[in-house]
């Protein structure tokens, strides 16, 4: 059976420290001025003393039904067998259709390669070496869990079976593969 890589971001454990952001930049040599991953700390919402922040992981959602792939005129954007939305940089002509199509606004033109770029779960770097993605590796509070959702025994499968999760903009039919465990404090603006 094919792998189906997914990630879970636990917003209770996330402290918005940007360790993930920096590790991603280091491992994937992401140039200044653009980013594959950040956690936006938004708020505080609510009234004193019952305030809360929202911790929003902003990165490619690895959609099963990816709008970026549909609009790519050259086939540079595709969904790999393991479910990771991937870019063939040789085929990318930098037309930016994918950037316009992405409902999550997480694609960009890499100023060095001049091709489209985004989070790919470190598929060509850490996954290729049998390691966990950079963000998962360093996350101080273990807020990120990554793995194969088709493997019932994987940590990520067990977590998805036991914890309440939500995904962003599911009404668009994109079927994102980044799941979020909502913070027990405060509402969700999904």
């Amino acid at each position: 059976m094919n792998k189906r890589y997914v990630m879970v971001h636990d917003e209770n454990k996330c402290i918005g420290c940007q360790a993930c952001n920096v590790a991603c930049r280091s491992e994937n040599q992401v140039p200044d001025g653009v980013t594959r991953l950040q956690v936006r700390v938004e708020g505080p919402y609510g009234e004193v003393p019952d305030l809360h922040f929202k911790f929003d992981r902003v990165s490619c959602q690895q959609c099963e039904n990816a709008p970026c792939v549909k609009v790519c005129p050259t086939g540079a954007a595709y969904v790999n067998d393991d479910g990771i939305v991937t870019i063939n940089h040789e085929k990318c002509i930098g037309c930016q259709y994918c950037i316009a199509a992405c409902p999550y606004k997480v694609r960009f033109i890499n100023p060095v390669t001049l091709t489209a770029d985004k989070c790919n779960f470190c598929t060509d770097t850490r996954l290729a070496r049998g390691e966990q993605p950079a963000c998962v590796t360093v996350c101080p509070t273990n807020a990120l869990v990554f793995g194969d959702a088709n493997d019932a025994n994987s940590d990520v499968s067990k977590l998805l079976n036991s914890a309440p999760t939500y995904r962003e903009k599911v009404h668009l039919g994109t079927q994102p593969r980044v799941y979020r465990i909502p913070a027990r404090k405060g509402g969700i603006e999904a």
Partner: protein
């Protein structure tokens, strides 16, 4: 994947720095002199981080010959193989165009930003000549040597002593001194926290989710998420730790002590404290209890705005969870001049809970010698302390003017006493200042006085990676190599059981930079003090540490972090049982299944002292833990408070490219009601004016701050033009805080009053 060449990496690592070529390049910087290609280990090298003072065990490797990936060393379990943003970004300073890689000499006025590069030989010989001149003209004690705490302070302070100056000062009084002195006075030693096993944690502004300490921050999250511990946070600001708490109480700045005392009041009044523990281990309980009688929750409410009913309820909940419950003793920020009694009040509650040497409470570090004694065998190797016998200088240290600070004399000293000498020349005038990896322009208070002190010196020498705000006033700049480029001695990292770890070189040295041990050794040799520097390299020193046990050294270096035995807390029956099961010759357990009878304190009475004869002697009237009124501000002013952010370390990392890109400014947090009164909106320029300085910054209007308080993250608003990435961005906290030294513990105080206006 498209291949990046090193040029691209350089551009990526420091694109912001590239613009410095247009505005004036510092002669000794990478932008001016270039740098060789990255070369280093493709295999992961275990080492020690230096992006903050936690010094986490890390593992780093060169990836594709182009960049360095840093993560935590998985051998160190409590650190979990993790690293924060600062730790992960450490490599971005390697090729930062702003980094200084050649020794430099000032050619303009102090602080004017005019430099020329010189050779190490010229730097050493000119500095040595000037130091010897000062020595013969004024005496060796007129040169001060200061450093952040770390391995380098040992090397610099050895040089100071060998030179004949008693004036060695660490950053202690700008950081955790209150907690350390309080602990020393009450327990006779430092106390460690076992947050991970706590079921109830009260936190007075110790922001562990922004002031990250990897082991403790992880422990707190583990306690909260896995053990469902309750976290109660008292903080005038909705900090990250407040955001993650079960209960946030926006306390009036500087009044935390009143709430801590009132918690003791409730525990005693309602007999919720551990009487057996107090009877066996505590000295001075009766007078302490009668003193606490007046500190009712209602009284605390009148000062702190924390409702009395909440204080009572929280005290009861805390007692319910005891002994696996604690009030966190905190770290850096000094909220009040009554710092000593605030920290003592916190420790007193912990003592009443009987959480000492219990899971979820406090414990003493178990180094090899102690641990082996309990085990009845040599479980962990004991390291030798291959020191050098340097005669103690005769003169008094400059912070020895006032007897009340006598406790500090055996510690790092009162850093800010250097600015006291400027106007008074007491106990004598200071003529030289040699410092390494410290930025007092930011971390001390009253920046104008620090500037005056620097300008008044005959000689200022700074060793650093960047021209910091302080280094901008140096006569000589000595470029240290980064922690990724150097080996150092083996360090003790013992907690509940013994552990060692070591810093190791990951990449080749870049430019004409050197490790601190070598810089101060070579300067010592130039001063004719070679006899005090017997270690020609780190390897020799390491071998002496391990008593020439080469196999042991290899093991420590191979794993990078080695721990021995099982965790031990003396009064925790479960842990003592596991310990005795493991070690056949272990000390016999007491009747109650613990090592409680072995728990002794290095105080005069041998017990935990709730009243200190020692403090009473040096500061009459201060032996007992008491509340004293403090005035922080005028009635038309707001409280100004400051704190840490997760992506920077105090005033030490603002120039690091990756981190500067994440945050290079500190907006001022203002409550919507306060903002409305002044017609201020988010993004507006505002001015804060205190009794010593005025700063212009940007407003961030947020409900996450009390209406009577404004907040800014520390370390920003640098005023030297060399730090192009950060100069004049944000408000400079050190320029707003007046020079106030807390009684007895000597801490710089971090709360003051400011006037707010829109500009």
């Amino acid at each position: 994947m498209i291949k990046l060449d090193r040029r691209a990496f350089l551009k990526g690592a420091g694109a912001t720095g590239a613009s410095c070529a247009l505005t004036g390049v510092i002669p000794g910087s990478i932008a001016a002199v270039g740098a060789p290609a990255l070369s280093g280990s493709a295999e992961a090298v275990p080492s020690i981080c230096e992006m903050c003072s936690t010094r986490c065990p890390i593992s780093a490797r060169v990836v594709d010959g182009k960049t360095v990936f840093i993560q935590g060393n998985t051998e160190a379990k409590s650190f979990g193989g993790k690293v924060c943003a600062r730790g992960g970004a450490g490599h971005s300073l390697l090729y930062d165009p702003q980094r200084i890689v050649k020794p430099m000499k000032r050619v303009g006025e102090r602080g004017e930003g005019k430099w020329q590069t010189i050779s190490w030989e010229q730097a050493y010989s000119e500095i040595a000549t000037k130091l010897n001149e000062l020595k013969s003209k004024y005496g060796p004690e007129t040169v001060v040597f200061s450093s952040k705490s770390g391995s380098e302070h040992t090397y610099l302070f050895d040089l100071a002593k060998a030179f004949g100056s008693p004036n060695t000062l660490t950053h202690l009084t700008t950081c955790p001194v209150g907690m350390e002195v309080a602990s020393d006075v009450m327990f006779g030693t430092g106390m460690k926290r076992d947050i991970g096993n706590s079921r109830y944690v009260i936190n007075f502004g110790h922001n562990l989710y922004e002031g990250l300490d990897m082991s403790e921050s992880r422990a707190l999250m583990r306690a909260q998420m896995d053990k469902h511990a309750k976290l109660v946070v008292f903080d005038p600001r909705f900090s990250m730790v407040a955001a993650k708490s079960d209960e946030w109480l926006p306390i009036r700045p500087g009044t935390d002590i009143a709430v801590a005392l009132a918690i003791s009041h409730v525990l005693i009044e309602e007999k919720l404290f551990d009487k057996a523990f107090v009877d066996q281990y505590v000295e001075g309980f009766e007078p302490f209890a009668s003193q606490m009688a007046e500190y009712t929750p209602e009284w605390a409410e009148s000062l702190s705005d924390v409702p009395a009913k909440d204080i009572r309820r929280i005290a009861r909940e805390l007692a319910q969870a005891a002994p696996h419950a604690m009030i966190n003793s905190g770290h850096r920020s000094t909220f009040t001049p009554e710092e000593l009694d605030f920290r003592r009040a916190i420790f007193a509650v912990n003592v009443l809970l009987g959480n000492i040497e219990r899971k979820g409470g406090y414990f003493m570090g178990k180094k090899a010698a102690t641990y082996n004694k309990f085990a009845g065998e040599a479980v962990a190797p004991e390291l030798a302390k291959p020191g050098v016998n340097i005669p103690k200088p005769n003169a008094k240290r400059i912070d020895q003017m006032d007897e009340q600070y006598a406790l500090l004399w055996k510690m790092g000293g009162i850093y800010q006493s250097i600015i006291d000498t400027v106007n008074t020349n007491k106990p004598y005038a200071i003529h030289g200042w040699v410092m390494t990896r410290t930025n007092p322009m930011q971390t001390m208070t009253d920046r104008a006085k620090v500037e005056q002190a620097l300008k008044q010196m005959d000689l200022v020498v700074c060793c650093d990676l960047y021209v910091s705000e302080t280094a901008a006033y140096a006569d000589y700049f000595l470029p240290e190599c980064t922690y990724l480029e150097r080996d150092e001695e083996v360090k003790d990292k013992s907690g509940k059981n013994p552990a060692y770890y070591v810093r190791q070189q990951v990449v080749d040295v870049i430019g004409d930079t050197k490790p601190a041990w070598q810089i101060f050794r070579e300067l010592g040799v130039k001063l004719g003090l070679e006899q005090y520097f017997p270690w020609e390299d780190v390897q020799t020193l390491q071998l002496a540490q391990v008593n020439k046990d080469d196999a042991l050294l290899k093991q420590i270096k191979h794993k990078g972090y080695v721990s021995y035995g099982v965790p031990l807390m003396l009064r925790e029956p479960e842990m003592v049982a596991a310990f005795t099961a493991k070690f056949a010759n272990a000390r016999p357990v007491d009747e109650d299944g613990t090592y409680g009878s072995a728990l002794k304190f290095k105080t005069a009475s041998g017990k935990i002292e709730l009243y200190s004869e020692e403090v009473e002697k040096i500061a009459p009237g201060r032996g007992a833990i008491k509340y004293r009124d403090v005035s922080f501000k005028q009635s038309n002013e707001l409280y100004f408070i400051q704190g840490k952010v997760a992506v920077h370390t105090n005033a030490g990392t603002q120039q690091v490219p990756f981190l500067a890109n994440l945050m290079s400014d500190n907006a001022v947090w203002i409550h919507p009601e306060t903002a409305a009164k002044h017609g201020i909106k988010t993004g507006d320029n505002i001015r804060l004016t205190s009794s010593v300085g005025s700063e212009i910054g940007q407003a961030l209007v947020t409900k996450g701050i009390r209406p009577d308080t404004v907040f800014a993250y520390m370390g920003f608003g640098s005023k030297n033009q060399e730090s192009i990435r950060i100069s004049d961005k944000g408000v400079h906290c050190g320029n707003l805080l007046p020079h106030v030294t807390a009684p007895v513990c000597g801490a710089c105080v971090h709360t003051t009053g400011v006037k707010l206006e829109k500009v």
